[in-house]
Symmetry: D2
Subunit: 348 residues, 4 copies
Amino acid sequence: MAKPSLLGVCVIGTGRAGMIHARNFSSGRVPEAALVAIVEPAEPAREAARRELRLEQVYTDYRQALADPAVDAVVVAAPSERHCSIVVAAARAGKHILCEKPMAMNARQCDEMLAAVDQAGVKLQIGFMRRFDAGFAAARQRIDAGEIGRVVLVKSLTFGPSIPKPWMYDIRQSNGPLSEVNSHDIDTLRWFSGSEFEEVYAIAGNYRSPDARNSHPDFYDNVVLSARMKNGMQGSICGAQGVRYGYDARCEILGENGLITVGSLAAAAVTTHSAAGSTTPIVRSWTDLFQDAYRAEDEDFARCIREDRRPRAGGIDGKAAVEVVNAGNLSIRERRPVRLDEEGATAA
Amino acid sequence: MAKPSLLGVCVIGTGRAGMIHARNFSSGRVPEAALVAIVEPAEPAREAARRELRLEQVYTDYRQALADPAVDAVVVAAPSERHCSIVVAAARAGKHILCEKPMAMNARQCDEMLAAVDQAGVKLQIGFMRRFDAGFAAARQRIDAGEIGRVVLVKSLTFGPSIPKPWMYDIRQSNGPLSEVNSHDIDTLRWFSGSEFEEVYAIAGNYRSPDARNSHPDFYDNVVLSARMKNGMQGSICGAQGVRYGYDARCEILGENGLITVGSLAAAAVTTHSAAGSTTPIVRSWTDLFQDAYRAEDEDFARCIREDRRPRAGGIDGKAAVEVVNAGNLSIRERRPVRLDEEGATAA
Amino acid sequence: MAKPSLLGVCVIGTGRAGMIHARNFSSGRVPEAALVAIVEPAEPAREAARRELRLEQVYTDYRQALADPAVDAVVVAAPSERHCSIVVAAARAGKHILCEKPMAMNARQCDEMLAAVDQAGVKLQIGFMRRFDAGFAAARQRIDAGEIGRVVLVKSLTFGPSIPKPWMYDIRQSNGPLSEVNSHDIDTLRWFSGSEFEEVYAIAGNYRSPDARNSHPDFYDNVVLSARMKNGMQGSICGAQGVRYGYDARCEILGENGLITVGSLAAAAVTTHSAAGSTTPIVRSWTDLFQDAYRAEDEDFARCIREDRRPRAGGIDGKAAVEVVNAGNLSIRERRPVRLDEEGATAA
Amino acid sequence: MAKPSLLGVCVIGTGRAGMIHARNFSSGRVPEAALVAIVEPAEPAREAARRELRLEQVYTDYRQALADPAVDAVVVAAPSERHCSIVVAAARAGKHILCEKPMAMNARQCDEMLAAVDQAGVKLQIGFMRRFDAGFAAARQRIDAGEIGRVVLVKSLTFGPSIPKPWMYDIRQSNGPLSEVNSHDIDTLRWFSGSEFEEVYAIAGNYRSPDARNSHPDFYDNVVLSARMKNGMQGSICGAQGVRYGYDARCEILGENGLITVGSLAAAAVTTHSAAGSTTPIVRSWTDLFQDAYRAEDEDFARCIREDRRPRAGGIDGKAAVEVVNAGNLSIRERRPVRLDEEGATAA
């Protein structure tokens, strides 16, 4: 019995998310797919990845990968501002695409990507891996099963330990933490409410990033966003960067008949009880918390291609999140609620 | 050794909160204070209270109680709209006052009350009993001890099972759930942030009260409020009435170095593990959850009078919460952020 | 409407348990009962209690209290070895009795007490206050409701911070931790299994009490006891004294269809999440953990007398626990399983 | 850069444990190792495994695998009674061995296996995968770090949903649940106490297996074992089969200065709060709970071979557990404590 031909995957960008995908596709952790190459312009990172992954093929430019016939699909884990051009080129080269969040910097870019993907007939999946997390997925099932009745309010928070990098300081360029961190929460609200955003209001401030304070007074590392959804439901999102206690991603869904809570800070089921109290270790990083979710996401990506079906989170979902990011940043700047259908609301 | 003369307490209003106070002061549960009378205009409630509390003295009108020399102090648990006139009269009669939240309907009323109390030299304590709850108080101590560094964001929620009563439907008259339910959360934000509110933005909707829908389209039973505090911190409050799973009052305080979480849904430390999962009973009512806090509050009220010191939550705190309620309701009506120092922001 | 005559209560012994009862009956915390006197031979303790409780009547000898017509009932919180003589005398004096655990030192003493109580027609309640704890009582209700089917195994542990006192070092005299600490667990096993003990096996050691090591090699501060119940169920008890993390009383009931877990270490619903992990305060003492249970126990004692009904835990329950203590200590000494119906098994 | 030659692994037995190992070694989930064959005498199981694992080589007899030069190492997941003969043969064939627990049926078999392995100079690892579980491993680190001082008592329980199979009914043949289920708890006690067992006492009964009752009155599906460890520490183990709420593996370590609790029933970090209470899903199977532990175990096995070092759990550990199983079963039969160094105590 011969092995079926494996899906050849190339990961573009070897940052933390890129390496998670690369490790998943390497060594067969994802059935019927295999890592065949990576793209990384920076030499030391490229060599480290080549060694760790025992890869024969590494590229410095994504265009080389797109020309490689062994590459059937790409994972786009390059800086967010380059997502648009890479995805468009990948689609034109006939490659299936798993694009990390945020999908792009603004709605216009998303439209361009959607058109290219549509025209090429390739799959585009957006890296909202929480949709593949056991707890979040169980919450969705419980909502669907009617356990809490009609959803009224979805609250989602992401507090992470990453120190904002200087490239993020200029919010106009980077789209800031709403984009880099809270894209996940935005997608969760859409996913659990089954609705698009209608209007958002956000407040933000810089509490832990003194380096950015003088040069970039607009920079924020803490944000509170409230939302009216189109179907009348309510939403609330909190985001924080540089927190010093661990990685914290929790969600609460209030329905007419009950409440669902998702997420836990506990890194392991071990607690020490001493004179200082009961102490449980906290999850240190999203790479630990969502390790299984990333694997399930990568598996589903391969399966979507094989079975020719629609990804659980596609370009439409990516675009919707980008629009909320842009509207949220506008709300922060202008200190007023912003409707998603306002002129210019969803431009960066 | 002769007993010292006890503080004579009269409880005005025998609704749920009134009866909690009445039971505490009855039968010596509060040292050095004793319930000497109640005021209740409705005959059946008055008789039921008289029987349960074994009281000899019951009044139908609070003015009778104010004329009673055995009454040293009153607990004002009458409908919120009557707080102002009762408190002013009680102060003029030289009685110390524990006034339930909300203190009053608007800032002007609060000012009137503060002036009367000030002139009479009596104590005025506002019923923010969460300040006396073991968990909330421990959180405050931990913040003071620097366990999480400078506070960045305070999130507080109160979701309760009470079905909104028709008198609450007209928000302009009743001040709505923000007043009746979330006064506690507003006080918690001030208490934990050590700051006044600067600006609020709130969204609200009616999800579980179909009876009110046609007659009172402005009525809401679910609200999300975000706040900028004067010292730059952030706040987030959620409120819900008529939830069907229990009484839920939780708070999270994000600091520069850590997070404090307060509150629990568990009604008792007992869990059944069966094929249906692990199931723990949920607190059914604030009367259960905060039973010890009410007793501690009543004890502290008596102690403040005896030791002639300032109550932990006084008229200033009551007024500040009323102002935020009014600004929040204005924000809901006008769909825009409202600064507390705007003209008219804190009028009802 | 005149107050009904109150039940006059005298507390004999003003140690920690005695003062809990004294405070409950003082100042009306227990409806329709009132503390009228205490008995305490030691002068400083007696005076401290008199002052705190604002008592006019204090006695140095329990016989004085038994002669006082104002005393309708006594709470026996004297040292365990004196329980028998005091209870017998109290019964003969026609006083109702709430006797702290352990009921006595051996089965013979218990029989003497039971006979005296029976003859006098007074109530005898044993201080198994866990039967009045919300969590433990809910567990019993859930068992009765069939939530876990027929009970198979009951596990109960009590780990406490109290350092064993020298009077406890001679196990033959004091009956040791099995008596002073684990009487509660023994009662819990009987209560949850609905069965008497058939056979016990216990191992014990001294791990934290170096002072006792040389003079009393038999002394133990840690014990593991397993039991066959008469109805075929299994039991397991662990006890520890001098633990340094708090007071820990938990129970698990394994049934044919599920498991019930009872108890929690959390002293308050507050957790700090920091780089050191998530930390929750631990209950420091049984006086905190079971404060509400003691009050409910005292209320039920007064109600049993008023309504002339059988106490929830009576002399039969007290004697059964004493027998298991004695059999357990014999098992420790002889390193073998001991049947409760063996000759001499339940003599001290 | 050429790939290093991979370790060729053959899994013997395709039951649940066997398939976990097979899936881990298949498709590269374990770096530098690869599944090259399986052994399964039963045709349907063999074909199912072949298909799922896309294997070219499957064997019906383990001797064929031992003759295959592509096989460098075997995982022995055959019925326990066959472990001895397979391991001895594998050692003689120069194959490294990961042998599932229990290692064998008695100490004599273990000695034979140890001698064969020793002579052949191959690795023998025993499948105590809890040593690789994040929570259990963290507990061990915390003990080593002195967080709770010297260990006093280790309690460990395993309650599982598996219905005992008829082959297990004859305890003399099968060694029963102590062997099949509690081998893990026995190893945990040795691991956390750092000591061998000195004496055990066990009680057991059949509560959920009516089919076995008449034919095999000695069969038990519930067991409570207490132990004296050689270094003076205490141990307590509970085991249950056929429980209907899920898979439950928890441990508590009481030290001089604190307590460590390990394990959790929660299958996912999701809870529904409704009128029925707060409900969290329970882990259904050890295959879910210990999935990561099995992978870590398999990785460590490959690494031990590559780096020529001693496995974390070796034959000595396997033998020690078998001896405790035998002593425990003898204690159940003879209703008395059994010393491990008694004549005949550790024969089956």
